[in-house]
Amino acid sequence: MNIIELNNVTKNYPLGNTTVHALRGIDLNISKGDLVSIIGPSGSGKTTLLNIIGCIDTPTSGSVKIEQQDISTLSDKKTTDLRLFKIGFIFQTFNLIPVLNVLENVEFPLLLMKKHSKDEIRNKSIKLLSEVGLQDHINHKPAELSGGQRQRVAIARALITEPSIILADEPTANLDSKTGEQILNIMKEINSKEHTTFIFSTHDHDVLKYAKRIIKIKDGVIDGEENQ
């Protein structure tokens, strides 16, 4: 079953007097439980594609369906809720809320959901932080953590809502190779355990071994696909 369906998606950006064609007609289906890597050189359209899948950006044309729901018809509120309930994000630059400590950052999405009790949220957050090896840092502020630790907090935050899809934009780009490997191992483990769909972009070929499916993108079009 396809969890994500992209049909002839294009994305154009105005840049001065010219138009940048970031995506030029992408057709892509991703199944539940996939671990997909989108690979391509800088400026190939990887991040734009992830943003459109993550409902952060809208396509210029074409349709995007998440769990059979066409996102172009959704209001801002519903799109926000879709991101909250269905999608988890791991950004390239470890975007955490600077004024909240590690535990509060992880709790944040669940608190927005207003569906769980305080104790439930606390216990679940601590459990997740233990799983990513940060049980001893729950009271630290993001500024007091290393890059790898921050990215692990971001993973825990992305997982806390048990989303169907986790999008990671170059999750290892700012990490040393050892930490990057740890992060990818965590992602792989969760994918196999929880059947969470992972889509991550990268231009690092060493990262590709973790993916079940590799989608190559070049100049805004899919240039090839590999299954591993």
């Binding site: 991040t47 993550g54 952060i56 950004f91 927005l112």
Partner: protein, 512 residues
């Protein structure tokens, strides 16, 4: 809710510099606003205390025929229309539950003549001294004394004495059988006194002015020289004279006349103020032929008449007045009382109307209102400036926090979450810094009040609401300050909230 509040609060501490700038603006805004409110309340209360309680009462009754309502400070123009039926008015006033006190009086412009027969103008306020003091208690004797019960004569104001000396009499007036008090001299009088040129007199001749030129010259006994305890520079032009002398001076019907020569029918006619023409042309006799001795109008005879120190046991209410000052019971709403009183007056066909003290004061009340409005506008201007600065600073802060806000939106925070976060940040600063501004403002108001600042400047007296600067804050003022602060907070955050709410997750990514 707690989450938003936590983030908002911590953001304030994270951006200490900006928070401090906004905080200082809020502090200053609230501080100035509190001071302004304190001054406005002091001004209101001062005017209430000094004008209503000491000079005019809340309501003034004047004849329905009176064209201009500004009867108290009307420098020149037509004489004030007479009220000849005070006994009936009094009867009505006695029965009204919202009326506390009242006093009838008469005000008019008299000519003061010097020994060469040259005239100048003086205002006379004809009163029953005892009742006047009971009602207002605003007289401070600086020479001579206050009149005894029923005593006839004049209380000359210090201000009129100085003006009369300078512009007309060239002589310094003192009450008979009193010594010259040099400390009360004007500059000019002091200079003349030092040069042994100062002429001292103890009497003055006034000639009342009325429309029928039926007034008389009077030479009242000068009982004392007075100052008003408050707003002397505004009301110091009003010499006080006993009501019977005033009536004689202005050709009004005196109580003595009423007692001696008015029969029942004439009294009734006077009470009607000649409004009812049918009654006027009835077959009842209107005039009684009386023999008038020419000597009755001689100056000597008049002086003899006025030398009579104590009036005979007559009812002063039976003569003519031209105003009635009324004080309302505490808690009575002025506008309601005026409305109700006018209905009662009309119903009883009394030929008088009720106006507010502000209407009766005319320009002076208008000036006070202008000053009040100016103060209010100033406070509002401070608000406006505070709003602009806070709005600008918060909008800049929102733009600087695009990555953080965009990321929150990306992981599921709705626009309302971001809006509330910004609102709480400003609200918290308003509570802390604005609250501190109100508290410090209240302390400064208290200190200013205790400093007992006085002024003789007329314009500043209007700002003070009297001679003394007595700003203060009521509970309602604190509530008003809090509301004003809340308004500033809400208005100042609207635009930054819009800016912050428009931040999209993509903006955060693009910023990176």
């Amino acid at each position: 809710m707690k989450l938003i509040f936590t983030i908002a609060l911590r953001n304030l501490f994270r951006h200490k510099g900006k928070s401090l700038v906004i905080g200082i603006i809020l502090f200053l805004g609230a501080f100035i606003m509190t001071i302004g409110n304190g001054i406005i309340t002091g001004l209101n209360s001062g005017l209430q205390e000094n004008i209503v309680n000491k000079f005019t009462g809340d309501i003034v009754l004047i004849s329905e025929k009176q064209e201009s309502n500004a009867v108290i400070i009307s420098m020149m123009g037509k004489p004030i229309e007479m009220i000849n039926n005070y006994t009936l008015i009094k009867k009505l006033l006695q029965g009204l539950p919202y009326i506390d006190k009242y006093i009838p009086l008469a005000q008019g412009t008299a000519m003061l003549l010097n020994e060469d027969g040259e005239p100048d103008f003086n205002f006379l306020l004809g009163v029953n001294f005892e009742e006047y003091q009971k009602m207002f208690g605003n007289l401070k004797v600086i020479e001579g004394r206050l009149p005894k019960v029923g005593e006839r004569g004049l209380l000359l104001t210090d201000m009129n004495r100085k003006t009369n000396y300078e512009y007309l009499l060239n002589a310094w007036v003192i009450p008979p059988n009193t010594k010259v008090v040099t400390s009360n001299f004007s500059q000019e009088a002091k200079l003349s006194f030092e040069q042994h040129k100062l002429k001292i007199i103890d009497s003055m001749i006034f000639m009342g002015m009325n429309e029928k030129n039926s007034a008389l010259d009077i030479k009242p006994s000068i009982i004392g020289v007075i100052k008003f305890k408050a707003l002397n520079s505004f009301f110091g032009y009003l010499n006080l004279i006993d009501i019977e002398s005033f009536r004689e001076c202005f050709g009004y019907v005196t109580a003595q006349d009423s007692a001696s020569s008015l029969d029942k029918d004439k009294s009734k006619l006077l009470a009607m103020e000649s409004e009812n023409l049918d009654d006027l042309f009835s077959d009842k006799q209107l005039f009684v032929q009386e023999k008038v001795n020419q000597n009755d109008y001689s100056l000597n005879n008049l002086q003899t008449k006025l030398e009579k120190k104590v009036t005979t046991n007559i009812n002063l209410d039976n003569g003519t007045y031209n105003q009635v000052y009324i004080k309302l019971k505490p808690g009575t709403k002025l506008d309601n009382a005026v409305k109700k009183l006018n209905i009662s007056l009309k119903k009883n066909n009394l030929g008088v109307k009720a106006i507010t003290w502000k209407q009766a004061l005319g320009e002076m009340a208008d000036m006070a209102t202008v000053i009040k409005v100016a103060l209010f506008v100033f406070v509002m201007f401070i608000f406006f400036v505070a709003i602009i600065i806070i709005m600008n600073t918060l909008s800049m802060a929102a733009l600087e926090r695009i990555p953080e806000i965009g990321m929150m939106r990306a992981i599921g925070a709705r626009k309302s979450f971001v809006a509330l976060m910004f609102f709480y940040e400003t609200l918290f600063m308003s509570l802390v810094f604005g609250g501190a501004g109100i508290v410090v403002g209240a302390i400064v108001i208290k200190i200013l009040s205790l400093m007992n600042i006085t002024t003789t400047n007329e314009m500043i007296q209007l700002v003070f609401g009297g001679d003394k600067f007595h700003p203060f804050l009521t509970v309602m003022d604190f509530v008003l300050c809090a509301i004003q602060l809340l308004i500033v907070t809400v208005i100042a955050t609207i635009y930054p909230i819009l800016v912050a709410s428009r931040i999209k997750p993509l903006d955060a990514i693009n910023r990176d």
